[in-house]
Symmetry: C2
Subunit: 236 residues, 2 copies
Amino acid sequence: MPENVPIYQQITAYIKETIEKGIYQKGNIIPSEQELCNQFDTSRMTVRRAINDLVNDGTLYRIQGRGTFVSHFVFRKYLEVLGFSYHMRTLGFQPSSKILSFEIQKPEKNIAEELKILPSDNVFYLSRVRMADLEPIAIENVFLPEKRFPGLDKYSLEENSLYDTLRTYYKTEIFLRHEKINAIVAEGTDANILFSKNKGVVMHTWGVDFDTNMNPIAYADSLYHGTKYTFDIVIK
Amino acid sequence: MPENVPIYQQITAYIKETIEKGIYQKGNIIPSEQELCNQFDTSRMTVRRAINDLVNDGTLYRIQGRGTFVSHFVFRKYLEVLGFSYHMRTLGFQPSSKILSFEIQKPEKNIAEELKILPSDNVFYLSRVRMADLEPIAIENVFLPEKRFPGLDKYSLEENSLYDTLRTYYKTEIFLRHEKINAIVAEGTDANILFSKNKGVVMHTWGVDFDTNMNPIAYADSLYHGTKYTFDIVIK
DNA sequence: CAGTGGTCTAGACCACGCC
DNA sequence: GCGTGGTCTAGACCACTGG
């Protein structure tokens, strides 16, 4: 009967489900730790492990002496790490991409450093226009070590999410992204693509994705349309 | 001998210290959980509680069967939540502020909604130019419920960090910020302050700060100089 | 194989909020 | 006082990595 899934994960899954179904409402109290112990026939430390995970990701909060509650918050963490495609879909837009370039290169010095590879190692350079309902929203330039993702060019990244591809074919999950953002004026080709004009205001982002062992797996340098796109960020 | 501080907090403090002192280096292994049990004369669950906290905030990572390691990452999470003053100091700049306005107002509808107060409730409106080494970097407009922070106007926010003031005098700690960012062209007074010109590219941010109980405690709407300022963000 | 982290138990006492 | 969450114990067995 008990799956091979750890009990604490069963409990977090159960709590998330009941929240999604609206059984536990925002701001309402959830069953006490003791009740959950009885319900899942387990010890309190295991229940607390489950609740801790949900408190850490912001789903629940605790008040000592009173109980554990569902956050008032419409939680949208992880969005950026899940990528543009996912983000657009949650906003109700149809994401699509147009590939500008997908080739093997020698990395520039700073990119090699960020990816912790040698300048003589190869990288895939993937440049895409990202669109929402066919409107150009961003230009994303991604660099990935060839060693880590051999044969990546076999896969169609026009239709599929890059992160889905890494997950499915290379068992690589992004754990964390370190990103920098500023605002600049885009000109030339970039401005033409995003604004159909020769100038436009964009957010410029650059940064590195890491896997669960904190190995760098991708470097990205992108431009986002200043007003059509909004970063939606939760900072703890 | 043992302080009133929980053991797991003593352990996290110890580990952080040794990392800062360079005794545990980036990528290096730290003592095993069993060794830390002996060192602190405590049980493994307590040691794990301590390590979990540091894994969750990205300071450490674990590999089953091998050990626990110091992240390769120069970690700068929490920066934004700690505020502009703190951020600038970590970058080696001298932060300062010039208050443009500090008064009691009735909130606009959307701000009242975000702060979960009535439109008839009062808010403090604090508008400041934030500077680094006397160069204007940002214009921050913050709205705080008067009910929650009675007498806030007594304190000098020209010299002191707003968040320090909330912490010290109102025992209020920011747990989380939900922030949105886009890029626009600033004009008029705003552009004059930040660029000494009548136009300039800025990052526009707006969002809400929450305390540990997920009560909204401040709404901020700010403009950051597009190129002098860079958001530095870690997304998990 | 030994050593590491991953999960779990069945209790304990304390601090806090509420009635 | 009672029920809540906060901290902690002293074990246990499993899964994984390395030599």
